[in-house]
């Protein structure tokens, strides 16, 4: 059985803030011409620390909830895990195929049909065209969209798009699934079905990392949690303990 694993060691992520002036070529050129002190001032970038020396490790079977108030660094952490942001400091090692589910509409072509979009999304997640075609029936079944799959996606409701996205993402059988927020917006019946699929999926040897504000989803789906605050890990461990701290944090501020 494939064992997935994620190890973060002292990972730091910083965003350079280029206020309009700094980002323009003029300022860069001018600063290199003026030299000396002014140049140093101009290149003295303002940085926002999105992740501050985060060390975590996740093992096979972990269903991790990322919690924390807005701007705590949940999304940045997910993007580092997905290999999208390269850490500025520290090291991250990810073993296993990753599927990042961050945005519903991502790469969806509103004019193309549901079937075409299934293939397109599959390709974006790293499947080959052959693998996409092999899975298309299974994916179509799961979405329960039936004839709608032959219609352009622009006719779909938000919930239908989520079904499509979720079905594709879980069908690529990744070892690691990363999810941000949005799953909470689909209807209760689908949510239940998604949860069952997710459970089966997690049992097939995988890691789930989910960022969410929904207490209900978090407690239902996850067995571990990480509480982020101002880019750092405030607490990590079993879900009950961490959620307790999270509640304290919310009520103290």
């Amino acid at each position: 059985m494939v064992m997935a694993r994620i190890i973060l060691d002292d990972v730091t992520v910083e965003f350079p803030l280029y206020h309009t002036g700094n980002r323009s070529l003029k300022k860069s050129l001018l600063s290199s011409w003026t030299g000396g002190r002014i140049a140093r001032d101009a290149s003295d970038r303002v940085c926002v620390k999105a992740l501050d020396r985060v060390s975590l490790s996740f093992e096979h079977g972990d269903r991790v909830a990322l919690v924390g108030i807005n701007g705590a660094g949940k999304t940045s952490l997910l993007r580092v895990l997905a290999g999208i942001y390269y850490p500025v400091g520290g090291r991250i090692q990810v073993e296993g195929q990753i599927a990042p589910l961050f945005e519903i509409g991502l790469g969806m072509d509103g004019e193309a049909t549901g079937y075409e979009n299934i293939i397109l999304r599959g390709l974006l997640y790293g499947l080959t065209p052959k693998q996409c075609r092999e899975r298309i029936e299974e994916i179509a079944d799961f979405t329960e969209l039936g004839e709608y799959l032959n219609m352009p996606v622009r006719t779909y409701s938000e919930g239908m798009k989520i079904r499509l996205a979720f079905a594709v993402a879980t069908s690529i059988h990744p070892e690691i699934l990363l999810m941000d927020e949005w799953i909470g917006t689909s209807d209760a019946r689908f949510l239940e079905k998604a949860r069952r699929r997710m459970e089966a999926f997690v049992q097939r040897s995988s890691i789930l990392v989910l960022a969410s504000h929904s207490m209900e989803i978090v407690t239902k789906w996850c067995n571990k949690a990480v509480l982020m605050h101002q880019g750092a890990v405030r607490k990590a461990g079993p879900i009950d303990e961490v959620m307790h701290s999270y509640n304290e944090l919310i009520h103290s501020t």
Partner: protein, 281 residues
């Protein structure tokens, strides 16, 4: 589990801040993008279909607007310059088609990463995928425009013969050069947002300074205008074979040197900045 993906060895990804910016990482980004050709192939087609969605002629509108532009310019300038239209029309057609490829590739290349922001921040495809997507899309447009050239050539009874095959080499040299140019422009533009407008106005000016609507012979006493214009050489390498002529040694040499120098500079830059791009867009 019998799954094809799971049967393969577990992919291990390591991102270590201390090892950022090695050449091998940059090169493997470029080759991995080529290996997954089906991604940009599909995205490129999707771009074109999206542009002409629900129009009856679809991408052939490209050919039609190119044709209209060519006829209008051809009639106007052949009488202004007092040149034989039989001679001028095919020259103009080949030039416009080739120039169209070069200029739009470069202009669109500037926003290659800026426009792919949504994808870059949400899936981890090799960044070169987006570069190849722009190239592919423009080559498809070029193929549609080429129809106009062949139509003109037939009308005026020109047949490039075997020399015409050399244009394939010209096209290859263009692709090699355009890849680094798009990558370079994309990196610089993601960081400095003033670059795209600078490039697009520069290219507008270059259109008039490059022998596309005027024949090189016209500038015989201002030869430096052509010698020191890399675009003139790039155009000539692709256009001359289409008209049944051989490009000069100087043309070939300039284009090859451009490729070597361009790739050297771009690779060094890409090596250092590749992992910063997702922060910039």
């Amino acid at each position: 589990m019998t799954d094809a993906l799971s049967a393969s060895p577990v992919p291990v990804q390591v991102a270590d801040a201390a090892q950022a910016g090695s050449l091998s990482v940059a090169v493997s980004d470029l080759t991995e993008g080529v290996r997954r050709w089906y991604v940009w192939h599909r995205m490129g087609w999707q771009d074109i279909r999206l542009r002409y969605r629900r129009s009856m002629l679809g991408p052939f509108w490209l050919s039609i607007s190119m044709g209209i532009m060519m006829i209008a310019l051809g009639v106007l300038y052949s009488s202004l310059f007092k040149i034989n239209i039989h001679d001028y029309m095919p020259f103009l057609a080949a030039g416009l088609v080739v120039w169209g490829l070069i200029s739009t590739t470069l202009i669109e290349g500037c926003s290659v990463f800026i426009d792919s922001e949504g994808l870059i921040r949400n899936v981890s495809l090799p960044l070169s995928t987006y570069v190849y997507r722009i190239l592919w899309r423009n080559l498809v447009v070029f193929a549609h425009n080429l129809v106009v050239y062949f139509g003109t050539a037939l009308w005026f009874g020109i047949w490039p013969g075997m020399t015409g095959l050399l244009s394939v080499i010209g096209l290859l040299l263009f692709i090699i050069n355009a890849t680094w140019a798009v990558l370079l422009m994309g990196i610089l533009s993601a960081r400095f947002r003033d670059i795209p407008p600078v490039i697009s106005s520069l290219i507008q000016v270059l259109f008039f300074f490059t022998p596309v609507i005027w024949k090189p012979e016209l500038a015989a006493d201002r030869a430096s205008l052509i010698h020191f214009n890399p675009f003139a050489h790039m155009v000539e390498v692709m256009r001359a074979p289409l008209l049944g002529n051989l490009p000069g040694v100087e043309n070939w040499l300039t284009v090859v040197i451009m490729a070597v120098v361009g790739w050297y500079v771009t690779l060094r830059l890409y090596m250092r900045l590749r992992h910063r791009i997702s922060y910039w867009v």
